[in-house]
Symmetry: C2
Amino acid sequence: MGKKVKTAITPTRAEDYPEWYQQVVRASGMAEKSSVRGCMVIKPWGYSLWENIVREMDDLFKATGVRNAYFPLFIPVSFLEKEAEHVEGFAKECAVVTHHRLKKEADGALVPAGRLTEPLVVRPTSETIIGDSFSRWITSYRDLPLLINQWANVVRWEMRTRIFLRTSEFLWQEGHTAHATREEAQERTRMMLDVYARCVEDYLAIPVLKGRKSPAERFPGAVDTLCIEAMMQDRKALQAGTSHFLGQNFARASNIKFQTADENEAYAWTTSWGTSTRLVGGLIMAHGDDDGIILPPKVASAHAVILPIIRKPEDRTKVMPFVEQLASELREKTYHRRMLNIEIDDRDIGGARGWDWIKKGIPIRIEIGPRDIAENSVFVGRRDRHYKEKVSINKDTFVAEFTKTLDDIQATLFNRAVAFREANTENIGQRDLFYDYFTPKNSEKPEIHGGFAVSPWCGEEACELKIKEDLSVSIRCIPFTGASVKGACICCGKPATQEVIFAKAY
Amino acid sequence: MGKKVKTAITPTRAEDYPEWYQQVVRASGMAEKSSVRGCMVIKPWGYSLWENIVREMDDLFKATGVRNAYFPLFIPVSFLEKEAEHVEGFAKECAVVTHHRLKKEADGALVPAGRLTEPLVVRPTSETIIGDSFSRWITSYRDLPLLINQWANVVRWEMRTRIFLRTSEFLWQEGHTAHATREEAQERTRMMLDVYARCVEDYLAIPVLKGRKSPAERFPGAVDTLCIEAMMQDRKALQAGTSHFLGQNFARASNIKFQTADENEAYAWTTSWGTSTRLVGGLIMAHGDDDGIILPPKVASAHAVILPIIRKPEDRTKVMPFVEQLASELREKTYHRRMLNIEIDDRDIGGARGWDWIKKGIPIRIEIGPRDIAENSVFVGRRDRHYKEKVSINKDTFVAEFTKTLDDIQATLFNRAVAFREANTENIGQRDLFYDYFTPKNSEKPEIHGGFAVSPWCGEEACELKIKEDLSVSIRCIPFTGASVKGACICCGKPATQEVIFAKAY
């Protein structure tokens, strides 16, 4: 038996990854299940991450000319039906509003009353309802491009839910644009994917692969779906954002026509693109360790916590002024366009205090006791290092280098995730090796094995489905950077047309 | 016949105030009706106002220790039933979700399927669902106070809707707090009302009266409802925000108990408080004129528009560099914590261009032609002044004094609204004068007359209801500043107990 190492989270990632995830979410106070099936409650520590993501992404959108608007929560069933593939894709998981009041029965029970003439669906996505507005707003080529984004809640009635990753209600943004030409719409589709990649990599410190989905994995009704895919620490893929080129499909469905410069009439070319609170789940799974989550400093709810060490009552008057002084020196600084957020935790609860903040993933912990003050130093732990690894630093040096330290943590997390992905990505050209790669060995937990396989594919959906059925492995994306392919399809052995990324996925 | 004065909006406020409102909303491009009954589409120009209000208010909330979180859109009917008055108040206007998918009938029609065991209500407000979380989060006095806010959409199925003022779906914030003592909860109720008043007065330039609601006008389930009331230009009152002291009613309903410092068990004391997109409607009705809306600079979507005057093609190369230079000089400045947002509109559409921006309410219009450039001057119109009143100003002086000019417009709008309210508020102590005040004369449009009446009231609901029935006038609030009352009740003539504000209301 090896020596039992203390961790804040039971079980460890290696012992039971899905359960580790649930425990990390709980221990950090980020979110919880609600009493409503499949819906989560996002608690303040988790919500502040979403707020930061929203602010960051919103600025990036606006810099490309996008403006925000808001459209109805409800979609008439007849709207959803306008695009055949679209309704097919969403009809099975829609919350349906059928009544507009409750009335009291003789026995006191409240029952639905006031039946609606046409049932309303709670939006699973808003192409059709936004298309209705676009058809009114667009009459001439002068109205194009129209670049709109909406921050909103959406509902998809999921049978198996997991906090942040798959919930019946989630928060997201959905961008919708209309253009005069196919080329411009395709450019916009790619531009917004690049915005997502930049935000997820630079801000959340999660490396992503960019590519397009296979036809089977496309958004219902889209001509082309681009995506960014990230690797989690169980080596599964997480789709972190999608950008769809919709061709003229939705323009036809919603009658979005315009007069061209040469006075003809044409359907607009549209796009849509979205990211969601799922990114918070990705953040946890990409960076967490067996002690809890680790927040990248740029998105962190708070940047540091000061933990005053007060062993005797008389220490307090000595320690607290020093603590307050340090906090206010740090709070004058900005990091990544936000004022530094510094917590002070003087609760008298022993070792549980430090562990609380480790589990919450705060980037820096600063302990200050009488001895530190005597030496004008601080005792510092970084969340990207082992919890026992703490160093004494001159206070003024610490303050002067604080944001540099945050940058260093941000870079460490990103580089660590890149290294992990590289270590768990294989170029596999042979079928038996491929099947072996994705089949757990005796010594492995079924949920932690495999990784990303870069393999040749013939382009046939039959092969894609066969692999999915055999191994629960899907094509995550066809990378933009894909090299020319010479080999044989990993499934059928016929000549391959493209090299794709296979993986298990969330 | 008087000389017909040109206005951008038909009809004028005096001719038909409700129709003027609809036309102003349309002409400014702020919002529109959607194809879903009672739901609005908030267009970018209107949504940016809401974004600015959210940012401002959110900062004020956070400065008082409040943190944001997010709770489910859906509320089980059984939750709503927990508080008797509460369910009574909302059951008649609830959107009810009864199914979780759609299935295709033999004839191709999509019909609701997958009936839910318990129907879900789309939240009309979240006391009960948030109370459910609070009951888990609060166990000890150490967990108190708990100060939470949520930015969300809510649905109240309204029969008669008006954009921004009364819609089936609207955007709002709802704050929910729990406290160990009655006093602390009451203080918080008042504190948040003061935050609302500060935001609405300082930021939206709308003066408000602070007070409490009569028992009949309270929030369903509340012990006390505080409110801010503003006067619109048709002299009706608009409730601009409410803050509720809920006593222990909802704590009992949701079982929010805690262990006190002396180890007893007690129910928490809770509050809730909300403001909504209705504020955007208030902004339009408080400041608009017969030419369209007038945006207070602090909340304005954009601060100024530059209109290059290009009469001959060769003017363009002379004018545009000067225009771009001016824009970038202005864009370097901040105003009320935002970078200045300067639009440039070089569309060649004649006089319609200037009117577009007048209708949109942009605070400052800057015309620049070759002659202005020769003199290094700009030709400036302020939206708080008549559209023809434009002055030539040295460009450098104009830039140097730009934010001072914005301050001046902000103050003008606020002072104008205060003067309007004062001119339309009467102390009325006699019943016949009171009835006369609220009865339209022959020469008056029924929707523009009366105003605020400050009158004595005996405190009986019967009198309140009688006046409401006779005149459609209600008690808007019992002002905190109410003087001691000596007179007789304006309705029944018995001794009055308080002086209250009567008005017609939105």
